[in-house]
Every structure is written in C-alpha cells, then in structure tokens.
C-alpha cells in the first residue's frame, strides 16, 4: 500500500508475467499463536522490503475451546514486489496447525496451492473436534493441492528439549518453529524476530532461548530437509524482490496505531493538548490503549463510565481549552449522538473516531462494514451538519486524523473520522513522514477582553464562520453556552423564529464552507470522462484500486475516484462525476455513499454492495466493472464468499489486537498468544 511509488505500465506488467505477490494464510487453534506468528511474519516481510497487506481473523471467545472449528484463528498476508493493496483474494500457501484450521481454511486455497500441516495434531480427538470422518492428510481428499505434512509438534518438542520446559510450555513454541520455516521459505531474516523475543521475554531468558531454538529449528528444517525435492513445486525457497518504493524510513502500522499517532500529531500542530474520553468497545479500544501510554505528549486519557460520558467529558475538556477526542464503534456512536449535537450547537472542537463494524445493534462486533456513513452524515436530531472524513488504509489514517484535528480546531466544530475494523486491525508498511513537512495550524484562543463599553460576543464569527474559543479562567470574557438555541452574537437563549433560521443557516454555511478549505477531488487512477468511474471511500480503496489498475492494464476505459472528505464533499466532485459515462459505487453497505452522491449531485450512481462482513475481493470488483462496460447491469450485490476471511465458522471475536510486536510498546495483557 504505502510503499508503492508508482503504478506499473501495462508494458512493464506484461514483461513480468510471473506472480509478483504471494498470499500466505496461517491457521490454527486460537491458542496456537497464529496472530502472533502472522504479525511477526509481517514484520520480517516488511523489513525485507516487500509491500504487503494483512487480514487478521480470530475468534470471539477469549479462550475458545481448543481444537474446535469456531476456535480457529487465522492470519492472512499478501506480500509482493509490486504495490499490494488488499490482503489477497486466494491464498497460495496454507499453514494449518490442526485439523480445524485446515478444515475451515482449505477451500480458500488456490487450486494447486501448498498446504503445510502439523501431522502431530491430526489425531483422533482433534479430527473428531474438526468433524473429519477420516484423516484428510491420508485419505486423498486434498489431492487438488500440494500437501506437505510433518510432525511440527514433535519437531518442536525435540528442539526445545534442552531447556526442560513442561510439555505444554514446549508445545507453545510450535508457532515459532512454524515461523522459522516460513521465514526460510520466503528467505526472510530471523534477526528481527530474535530481537523481539529478547525484548518480549527479557525477564525469562529461558523462554527466549527456547523460542529462538524453535525458530532456528524450523528454519533449519527447511534448509536441510530433503522433502519437496520429489514433489513438484514442493517445499522450496521463494525469493520476492522488494517492492519499488520511495526512499525513506519505513515501519509497519495498524490503523489503530496510526490514528493514535495522527491525533497526537494533530494536537501538536494545533498546539493544544489532547483529552481523550473513551469507553471500551470492539474494534475501537486499541486507540484508547495506545493513547493512554503517551502522557509525555500532553495526552490525558479518561476511561469513562459509558459512551455518553466519554463524549461528554471530551466536550467538557474542549470547553476548558483542550482538544477533546472520543472514539467508538457504531453502537457507541449512536449513544454519543445527542452529545455530538451539543458540540454542534455550542460550536466546540471535537474529534469523534468511528471504527465501523457490522450493524445494526451489536451486529458483527469484529467484522468490517462501512454502514455508518448515514449515521455520520445525517445521524442526529435537528439540522446538525458535521464534517466527516474517511480513512482508506492504516497508513492513510495518520493524515486523516491530522485533517480531522485541523478542521475541528479551525472551524470550531465536531468532526467525525470514519475508519473500520479492517483498517483498525490490519497492518501495512508506512513511510514515516517528516513532521517538518506539515504546516502547523495553531489554535488562537481569544484572550483579549473587549474595549470598555463593548460586549464580548461568544457567537461572533470570523471569515470562516467560526466562533471564538475562550478558555474559562480568562478574565473579561465570561459567558454562558448551552444546547438551547443561541442568539446570534451574544449566545444568550433566543427562541425567536428569525434567529433560529439565521443560526441554522450559520451552522450549515460554516460546515459547507469547509469545502473551500479542503483539496479538490482528484482522479485517483485514470482520467476524467472515462466510460466508467468506480467511486469509493474508506477501506474499499485497496480492492477498487487494484481492480481498476488491472483492467486499465488490459486497456479498459475505467477510472477510480476515491473520496476522503465525505462531508462536505469536494467542491468539484459533482462536475467530475458528471464527466463519466457510468458511475459504479462499491460499498460494504447497502448503498450509502451512492445515496449521498445522488442527493448532492443528481447523478446516476449505481451501487455494488457486499454486506457479508468480508472486504471486497479484487476479482469481484473486476467482474462488476467488466459487466458494466460490457453493457450489462451496473452494480448489484456481491454474495458472501465462504472461502474468504473472515470465514463462516470462525466465531464472533473480541477484537483483541494481538499483533503485539507491531504495537507502539508491548502491552502487558497480550500474552495469551505467546509461547510462554
């Protein structure tokens, strides 16, 4: 995603017909440490210079019963030597740590793809839990794929034997053994993993040694074992060239991390300290966790008693002169609705982050969806306009968070920043920006008392329509604000008809006017006036972009327009959209942006909807584009894909982000996924 410097030309693309990316899925029991294995594999892949995207999928149950189908935890990574923007349509390699992991995931594997299985776990008991009548490793049912099975459990036990661990503890090193093998397969360095293990288990050198031994044993197994030599395309090394990328410093980042960092950066650029009021909710809690560790950056975090108190405290903090921020997911945002209206009425800065999940109600707590766009744009009582920004990827969320802070503080308004469960949990490489390249937007608190005989006007407005921000404690500027309609200028209670009309207009004009202070809409890929434009927002960026890229490489007249500013929309967007023959809007909802575009511009936007809690696959969008260009229907519904993550039997999940190695600093409570 972030590393790709440029698009390949069709000629370049055809000059390299070999696969430039590989999709690997790790699957096992939720106790097997799959998220951790995937996270560390991600890190080593990023360090090797490949671009990548990941999809973590793990069960709802904190401790799901061992070996069961609903206890399967999976982690998919797509990495390659070109720009990677999705977690991949179909895995090339499946690493199955137990029968349940195999059963749940094998149908997703590409025909001819490679299965690596731990035969040590394919005993009668586990086969029964996975509802296998016969052992699939031996009954020939996996003939469509290449199968490599060996006793990873036993090999791990042998490797860690010198350290005298108990059986259970020794077996927990299995994931490191598997990681070692995977590192060998793709020619990745073990060094960063060793460093990380040393840091993680600094207090128990024995565990460091055991895990490193397992890691090395897995690696050596790949290096020395003869297996595969007699199997066509068997166990062998694949070396992928690094992806073309701009020079600079890179790191991996999840959406939750980059939003947290972006909020801190925004508060520094605004030169105002941040107050974050939050309440635990999946998948938004990670932002509260990250920010709570950053006290030295002037961040105060407050875990409130409920979602309402979280937003209300943030409003109180903004009133008192800090940057109030709150974060939640759909159900929590619904609870915050009335208070957001108060922030609109009192015209105080506030950033609300919504990590969207499947709805309505409790819905799908950890599955991704984009179905809160109506809620963001329209979801309050009264005429209550509020700017809305949507992040397209983990890395993009950093700039979006800064933009949200800028708009909130410059225009004295709440701003909603939309992300989703996929962005929050997925990791991608991120070119660390140079903060010197960001123009500060310092807040100017009003401090000067009006001249003798002149009244202070708390609802006086500047050229942008913003009212002054006054900190309580400032002499001479005493005033009262509240949720009751304000008199223009004075802010006193005023129910007069003409005043309510004027204030409603003022609130609308202020927010509409932000369109003049955001970038014009660019064509993300392609040009104006194509036969078809695919318009997207949020995390559908990846699959849309790749689909359009592929089809343009095949000469199709299609362009991609990705919208970051959902409200107000960019000033030129209407004209731009009208230049295209057809407008296709893929969304992980039933057509919400489509409705807004139709409403705002009277254009014939057609929806392509997928509401299965699964991100779009590139191929699905490609097919819809081909169909539309071929004279068929524009848009339609994409049905659930049982081979895609999240899978059909993996339960709901608690949304814990256990890709701990990628976190800002290691968390104390994320150990369940570790070989310890």
């Amino acid at each position: 995603m972030a590393t790709a410097a440029r698009e390949l030309t069709p000629r370049e693309a055809s000059a390299h017909p070999v696969p430039e990316s590989i999709v690997v899925r790790f699957a096992g029991d939720s106790g097997d440490g799959m998220q951790l294995t995937g996270g560390q594999f991600t890190l080593s892949t990023a360090l090797a210079g490949n671009d990548l995207a990941t999809f973590p999928d793990f069960p709802a149950e904190i401790r799901a019963p061992q070996g069961t189908l609903f206890g399967v935890s999976a982690f998919q990574i797509n990495f390659g030597s070109t720009a990677i923007e999705t977690a991949g349509d179909q895995p090339d390699v499946l690493i199955a740590m137990n029968p349940a992991g195999l059963k749940v995931n094998v149908e997703a594997l590409k025909p001819g793809g490679l299965i690596i299985a731990d035969e040590g776990e394919f005993n009668e008991r586990n086969l029964a839990k996975a509802k296998y009548a016969a052992n699939p490793l031996t009954d020939g049912s996996l003939a469509r794929w290449q199968l490599m099975s060996f006793n990873i459990s036993q090999l791990t036990m042998d490797a860690v034997k010198p350290f005298g661990l108990g059986n259970k503890e020794a077996l927990r090193c299995k994931n490191m053994w598997t990681l070692g093998l995977a590192l060998w397969m793709f020619d990745r360095s073990r060094e960063p993993i060793v460093d990380w293990l040393k840091a993680k288990f600094a207090k128990s050198p024995l565990l460091v040694e055991a895990n490193v031994a397992a890691l090395n044993a897995g690696h050596a197994f790949g290096e020395t074992a003869e297996i595969g030599s007699d199997v066509a395309g068997g166990l062998k090394q694949h070396a992928l060239a690094p992806a073309p990328s701009e020079p600079g410093l890179y790191r991996t980042v999840t959406g939750a991390e980059s939003i947290s960092l972006g909020l801190v950066a925004g508060s520094k650029l605004a030169e105002v300290d941040m107050f974050f009021g939050g309440y635990p909710i999946t998948p938004a809690s990670a932002i509260l966790h990250h920010l709570s560790r950053l006290k030295e950056y002037g961040v105060t975090t407050f875990q409130a008693e409920d979602e309402i108190a979280a937003v209300a405290s943030a409003i109180g903090a903004s009133y008192a002169g800090k940057l109030g921020v709150t974060s939640s997911s759909g159900p929590g945002i619904a609870l915050k609705g009335e208070a957001i209206g108060l922030a609109i009425m009192t015209e105080l800065p506030l950033v609300i982050v919504n990590s969207q999940r499947g709805g309505p109600s409790t819905g799908l707590p950890t599955k991704t969806e984009q179905s809160d766009l109506y809620q963001a744009v329209y979801g309050r009582n009264g005429d209550a306009p509020m700017p809305v920004i949507a992040a397209r990827s983990p890395a993009d969320a950093f700039d979006c968070a800064i933009e949200a802070v800028r708009i909130a503080t410059q225009f004295m308004t709440p701003v909603m920043l939309l992300t989703d469960g996929y962005i929050a949990n997925a990791a991608e490489p991120w070119k660390v920006p140079d903060m010197a390249g960001y123009a500060p937007f310092p807040v100017a608190f009003r401090e000067d008392a009006p001249a003798e005989g002149e009244a202070f006007l708390p609802y006086g407005r500047d050229a942008k329509g913003a009212r002054p921000w006054v900190k309580p404690g400032t002499p001479g500027l005493l005033h009262r604000i509240g949720g009751i309609e304000k008199q223009q200028g004075t802010g006193n209670i005023d129910y007069a008809p003409e005043n309510h009309q004027a204030m409603t207009d003022a609130r609308r004009d202020k927010v509409d006017g932000i369109a003049a202070h955001i970038p014009l809409q660019e064509v993300t890929l392609g040009e104006e006036g194509s036969k078809l434009v695919v318009v997207g927002w949020g995390s559908t960026f990846g699959p849309i972009h790749q689909a359009v890229r592929r089809l343009r490489a095949r000469g199709r007249d299609v362009s991609h327009v990705h919208i970051r500013h959902i409200w107000p929309l960019p000033a030129n967007l209407g004209d731009l959209l009208r230049s295209y023959g057809k407008i296709l809007v893929p969304e992980m909802n039933t057509g919400q942006l489509k409705t807004v575009l139709r409403d705002q511009f009277l254009v014939d936007a057609r929806p392509l909807n997928k509401v299965s809690g699964q991100p779009f696959r590139i191929a699905e969008i490609e097919a819809a584009i081909e169909q539309a260009l071929g004279g068929g229907a524009v848009g339609g519904e994409v049905h659930a894909d049982t081979t895609q993550l999240p899978g059909p039997v993996a339960g709901l999940d608690d949304g814990q982000n256990v890709t701990d190695g990628l976190a800002l600093t290691p968390g104390p409570n994320d150990n369940q996924d570790f070989a310890a």
């Binding site: 370049e12 030295e296 950056y297 903090a317 009335e338 309580p472 404690g473």
Partner: protein, 343 residues
C-alpha cells in the same frame, strides 16, 4: 491560586443581565440568591468559576451566574464537568442538577462522579417532581404521587439522594433547604471540601408539587422536624428537648427526650462527621418518627480524581521527552535507500 491579594466581590457581581425565568415563588430563586451571597464569602474569582448544569428547571442556573457556564444535556453535567476539571484542575466547578437529571437519566454519571471524587460541588435541587416537562412524578417522588403520568398515583419506591451519594462513595454529603438561612453555610462547607461535595437541597416547586416538604419546612413544624448537625456537637433538635441516641440493641438511631439539658445523660450522640456508619443511619431515618437530618451529614476527605490523574500523568511522563518524530518512527523500522526494483 497563589494570588495573596484578597478577592473582594459583592453578591451583585455574580448576577448576569439575563432575566430570571423561573415561576414566581419557585424555590430556585432562593437557592440562586444563597449561591450569589455565598460566592463573595469564598474569596474566589468569577472567571475561575464554572457552573455546569444538565436539563431541567434548576439547570437554567448557569445563565444567571456571572461566571463561565455550560448548560449541557439531560443528565450529563457530571460527565461534562469531569472533562472540564481534568482539562483544567484550577477551575472551580459547580454542578447544578435536579432529582430527575441527577438520579434518573443521569444516575450513572452521578454515581461515577462521586466514586471518583472529582473536586467539585454538586447541588441537587430536589423538588420530587419533573417541573420543566409539566409535572410528571420523579425518581424521588413518594409512593402515591399523582401526576399526569401517574393519574392513579405512583407505585415505585423513591430514591434517597443522600443514601445514593453515600452508597456511591461520596466523601461529603450535606442537606439544605432552599429558603433556610443555613444554606449559605452548607454551601461554604461544600466549597471548602476538597473532592466531590454532594448537597441535596430541598426545593419547593410551587406549581407542581407545592408544600411537599412542608412537613418539616413549615415554621411550626421546623423545630421538631429539623435536626441541624454540627460536627462535635450533640444531635439535638426541638430546642434541645430531643436528641438522637444509638439503640445499641437494634443498631439503629432512636429519638430520646432530653431533660434539663442533660443530653449526655439521655445518651444523645455527638455528631462525628467522619463516621460513615452513622451517616448512613442519618440519611435513612424514616420521616414519620424522626427529624430530617440537615447540614453536613458526612465529611471525610480523600485524594481527588483530578489530582490523581495529574500526578500519574506527570509520573508517567517523567524523564521522557515529547519527540513526535521519534514517536512515529518507533517500533521496528527499515530504511529504503533508493528504488531497488528496476524493470
């Protein structure tokens, strides 16, 4: 805060130019006056004072105080005030709320504000009715209260504000009466207490619940039904003719007669405002057989929430420099020197 010059204000300095719009005869007027009379005695600056309210008749209060003011939304004043105080602990925060606002829609926030012990004053105007919505029964209305929503009388048992506060962990619990002269001293005590100071003010709603407190506020009834507590003083009422003693067998309070001023001989107990158990008994006294306990029922300071937050923030930040570039460059990183992939 360290300014040693005395801050001199008059009650008038705390009045705004806004026309007060409560019903004529409303107890809120008396409370407003009492607060405006209290402020000069506190030696505080209007600009450092913030009144935060929720929704209801009483919550209009901030518009009438020449201070900073925030009239928020129903039930949420404690949450907004928490943000205000955490953002700037130097501010002197007063929360104005009512029985519906604080105990019904906002009950959760009231509980957590008190348990956290945020340094602020909570003035709960209890009139046992929803006034602004035109007279429905409230969570403190007595069983049988007839109202537009309970034409046959309410059937649910009322909440007891001070018992709720004690149960929530409040470290300062007091009671006052809207028109009683002692309200100023109760407010002063509330302000002097560092931490969440909870004050229930019996406030008469002249329109929807007139005289609901007359049983102990009437001039005639007052001596026998009002027990004004003073720390270190015996719990006497009815001109010293009666007092409260401990029924050691039943572990409850009992009313005893005091003859010839010999309260000790009658077993009357001395008010120890740090005694939480007695405070519980005082707020739970049945109104028929006992007087109403007024004044400071319980006061036992504890560290405040905002001071703990500030201290922990400082401790966690100690010795660390805020280098944003370093922060975003943290974790495992790699350097791309030049475009390595050519085609």
């Amino acid at each position: 805060m360290n300014d040693m010059t005395a801050i001199v204000t008059k009650p008038k300095d705390w009045e705004t130019d806004q026309e007060v719009r409560w019903c004529p005869g409303c107890g809120d007027y008396a409370v407003l006056k009492a607060v405006q009379r209290t402020m000069p005695e506190l030696g505080v600056k209007p600009e450092n004072t913030v009144f935060v309210s929720g929704i209801g008749c009483s919550s209009r209060f901030p518009y009438y105080m020449e201070t900073y003011g925030f009239h928020t939304i129903h039930g949420r004043a404690p949450a907004v005030a928490t943000g205000v105080k955490l953002a700037n602990p130097e501010l002197d925060v007063w929360i104005i709320t009512g029985d519906g606002d604080a105990l019904s829609i906002g009950g959760n926030h009231t509980m957590h504000l008190l348990r956290r012990n945020l340094d602020c004053q909570v003035l709960l105007f209890n009139n046992e009715i929803y006034g602004l919505t035109k007279g429905q029964y409230s969570p403190t209305s007595r069983v049988g209260t007839r109202s537009p929503s309970t034409p046959f009388g309410s059937v649910d048992r009322p909440a007891n504000p001070c018992a709720f506060a004690l149960g929530s962990g409040a470290r300062f619990v007091a009671r006052g009466i809207d028109v009683h002269k002692n309200l100023v001293s109760v407010l002063k005590a509330a302000h002097a207490h560092k931490g969440a100071s909870f004050v229930e003010i019996y406030q008469n709603c002249i329109v929807y619940n007139d005289d609901v407190f007359a049983g102990f506020t009437d001039k005639k009834a007052a001596p026998a039904k009002q027990l004004w507590l003073e720390n270190g003083k015996p719990m006497l009422f009815d001109g010293g003719a009666k007092g409260l003693a401990l029924d050691t067998a039943a572990l409850t309070l009992k009313v005893v007669d005091v003859e010839g001023g010999d309260w000790a001989g009658a077993g009357v107990i001395v008010h120890d405002e740090t005694n939480r158990s007695v405070a519980h008994m005082l707020v739970e006294m049945p109104s028929d057989a006992f007087p109403v306990a007024l004044g400071v029922l319980y006061r036992s300071p504890a560290p405040t929430f905002e001071s703990a937050v500030v201290a922990q923030n400082a401790q966690a930040a100690k010795g660390k420099t805020a280098d944003l570039q370093k922060l975003i460059s943290a974790g495992q990183t790699w350097q791309v020197e030049k475009e390595p992939h050519t085609i």
